[in-house]
Symmetry: C2
Subunit: 447 residues, 2 copies
């Protein structure tokens, strides 16, 4: 029996589960075969100092921890989560059947497939290039992945410790955290609540949530997310032209996070950095099926690395990213890719539009409710996030207060950087009923 | 319409696809809004020098490239692949239905789930701990992933540039390549065909394919794969005790790749490093559903990081790996995890045994055929790889010769390191019929 029965386990009785204090010598080798163990044993391996720079844990598990702690203490209370941007609508039929077909074919001789190309199936790369980008990108420039968060980490692995990064402030925590992990930064500065060595580009109401690039120093890499998580701000065409021009002038690389692109409603708001002339020479675009097809758990995304993007020595960035994808990754799940193909059919695209409409109605409701209650509110028109101002207040305090008084989970803006303090992010991905109920509770609390 | 129709694409007509030579100034800002572009434009970002150290591409895409080139030139020839270790049997019913159910439930309100815990669903972590490890590991020590290759890269990201690594020679190329990418090494040494800064532990017939640890210098990390890819060697209990003892003596961390554990047939060959006393303090174990459930495309694996494993400063390695998994990863696909749960049911484990039996019969056939033909042959008894000796010959030459004369794709041992030269790896994952046909062709060529 290669693997054990349930109950006795794969390894039978042999696995040592507790540290045992025992030792004996193996006379043949004069080596302690069972070394004396003690509870304080440490290896001689030095911890990667970059990890000691990190502050606490990643943001969303911390939110979950506080939420779960509250639930434990208040088991009778009915929690509504407008916190993590997690989709809640079931996957619509056409897309779901693509996933299901992807699973069932693996049970057949004709349909079974093992390893796929790490960069994604040719069919899916083709379809992304044609159905998303109108053939204005080549399939070879498209790298299918298990999602944008993982791609950011892989891009950072590719850039390495020697590059400098700029992020929006506030921003999705992964850009900063992976920068720290890669050794691109110095220590966390308690005074500024920022990492020395990262350039933070403040985005707030005073600058229309677009950075003051004329007063921003050069960095190698610029992480830019639009429509923005967490502020909901959607950069206009001329703002993105300014960004591309800034990158060109400085010889920088923009990592453009377009994960919320399909939520754009306003005209003159591009859905891709590649709509901007010159972007091919300066930008990488990350995108994901998570937020618009409900694939947050399914895991499917992609990166576009244009052929024209080169390092200072002339090497194509695409070549090194290809090396990362083939060496550090083994492809997105074939089942997820089957779902991706269904997403990009006409029926799939229609289904996606239905999902997005639903969430944007939630966003509109949250937005108008908070505006009615007298708050300054941003976002929610081109993104599924509503960014509510609580001037002068600690956002973690407001988070706790809202949780305790209305049992609604939100995200404190400070979790996205000091520029987020004084704001609360509300996510539109909950059910319509939950959003309506949350708004009722807000009206009671603030009305 | 949020996303475009098929044909006009998501971005309509706006994406700029070709580098256009044009420029104009934006008088308002005195900045070139559409910069002059030229085909030679380079950013000012310095390429990560670690990538320039890498030699050629990752091994398996290179094999695929040569195979495809051969097919193009010889379209009438019937290629058999005993190359990449890719599973070919369809996924059996119980496991397949677990995958299918995981997909279909996403289409229902009750069954839909979005983001899962990055470390894996509690149910799957529990089941791995109990059904694979007989509860001798805790669920919190189990991290579910999208596979061992990705986990090695994440472990390397965690270790960072400041650690030294040892690998077996020959070995799975990912350990070396990720070591180079992380900056743990110096340059490739043309004379030795190895990277200066990595310790290579020769494994060959003269030492029974187990390293001479007494003459191995200390490194922080020791990558050890058993049963071994590519040699098929399966370390005995006393050999693994020696390895654990060596690690303890040196304060090193073993990264133990157990991806082929279920192929073990011999008694006194452990299936997990955690069977060895003392291992909890010195070892991390990687494993994968790829090779035994046919999940090479589905993507599911796990890592065990014992609580007792600590860096020199006392920090738990598990804490930093948890940080990597939550920050650089977003969980294995929920559909794949559903399949994993089915794998670990009694019916699933039985199905896995059936798959492994099938492949091991192939291995036995390949082994006995090559032995009959007069070759010294290793492996194939506890692993799905057969390691055939061609003393004094360049393995890339033998690879080409076998491909041209028998149309069978193998892997040249040198692809796994200089210690692999003079050997050819044959993988047992092809169909029974293909293996039989390949053996017929070998008999014709060498008989």
């Amino acid at each position: 029996m290669m693997l054990g029965f349930v109950g006795s386990g794969f390894l039978g009785q042999s696995v040592v589960s507790r540290v045992q204090v025992s030792s004996r010598k193996d006379a043949r080798r004069n080596v302690r075969v069972t070394p004396r163990m003690d509870a304080e044993y440490r290896t001689g391996v030095k911890r990667n100092e970059n990890f000691s720079k990190l502050q606490a844990g990643y943001l969303f598990p911390e939110i979950a921890r506080r939420r779960n702690a509250y639930i434990e203490e208040n088991p009778d209370k009915d929690i509504i989560s407008l916190g993590i941007g997690d989709t809640t609508l079931p996957i619509p039929d056409h897309i779901r059947s693509g996933l299901q077909a992807g699973a069932s074919k693996l049970g057949t001789k004709e349909g079974y497939s093992g390893y796929g190309a790490e960069q994604g199936s040719a069919g899916l790369r083709d379809k992304i290039a044609s159905n998303i980008y109108s053939d204005r990108v080549k399939p070879e420039e498209v790298f299918v992945s298990d999602g944008a968060k993982c791609d950011i980490a892989r891009l950072q692995m590719m850039f390495g410790p020697g590059t400098t990064s700029a992020v929006q402030d506030p921003s999705y925590p992964v850009y900063v955290d992976t920068s720290v992990m890669q050794g691109q930064t110095q220590l966390f500065n308690e005074g500024t609540s920022q990492f020395d060595g990262i350039t933070y580009m403040r985005c707030d109401a005073s600058n229309g949530f677009f950075p003051d690039l004329e007063n921003t120093q050069r960095t190698d890499v610029i992480f830019f997310c639009s429509p923005n998580n967490p502020t909901g701000a959607a950069a206009s065409k001329s703002q993105l032209e300014e960004l591309v021009s800034f990158a060109k002038k400085n010889g920088s690389i923009i990592v453009y996070d377009a994960a919320y692109a399909p939520f754009v409603r306003s005209s003159d708001v591009p859905k891709s950095i590649l709509e901007i002339e010159g972007a091919r020479e300066v930008a990488i675009e990350c995108n994901s099926f998570s937020k618009y097809a409900g694939f947050t758990g399914v895991r499917l995304g992609w990166v576009v690395v244009p052929n024209e993007l080169k390092y200072s020595d002339g090497t194509k960035v695409r070549a090194d990213f290809n090396r990362v994808m083939t060496t550090c990754f083994n492809g997105a799940s074939n089942i997820a890719q089957s779902g991706g193909l269904a997403c990009l059919d006409k029926e799939g695209l229609d289904e996606i539009e239905g999902l997005i409409d639903y969430y944007m109605k939630n966003a509109a409701l949250l937005r108008t409710t908070m505006i009615d209650l007298g708050f300054d509110v941003y976002g929610g028109t081109d993104a599924p996030y509503v960014w509510v101002s609580f001037p002068g207040r600690s956002s973690w305090d407001v988070f706790s207060e809202i949780l305790e008084k209305t049992q609604v989970v939100t995200i404190p803006g400070a979790g996205f950087g000091p520029g987020g303090d004084g704001f609360i992010r509300m996510s539109a991905f909950a059910s319509k009923e939950s959003c309506e109920e949350a708004c009722e509770r807000f009206r009671k609390m603030y009305g």
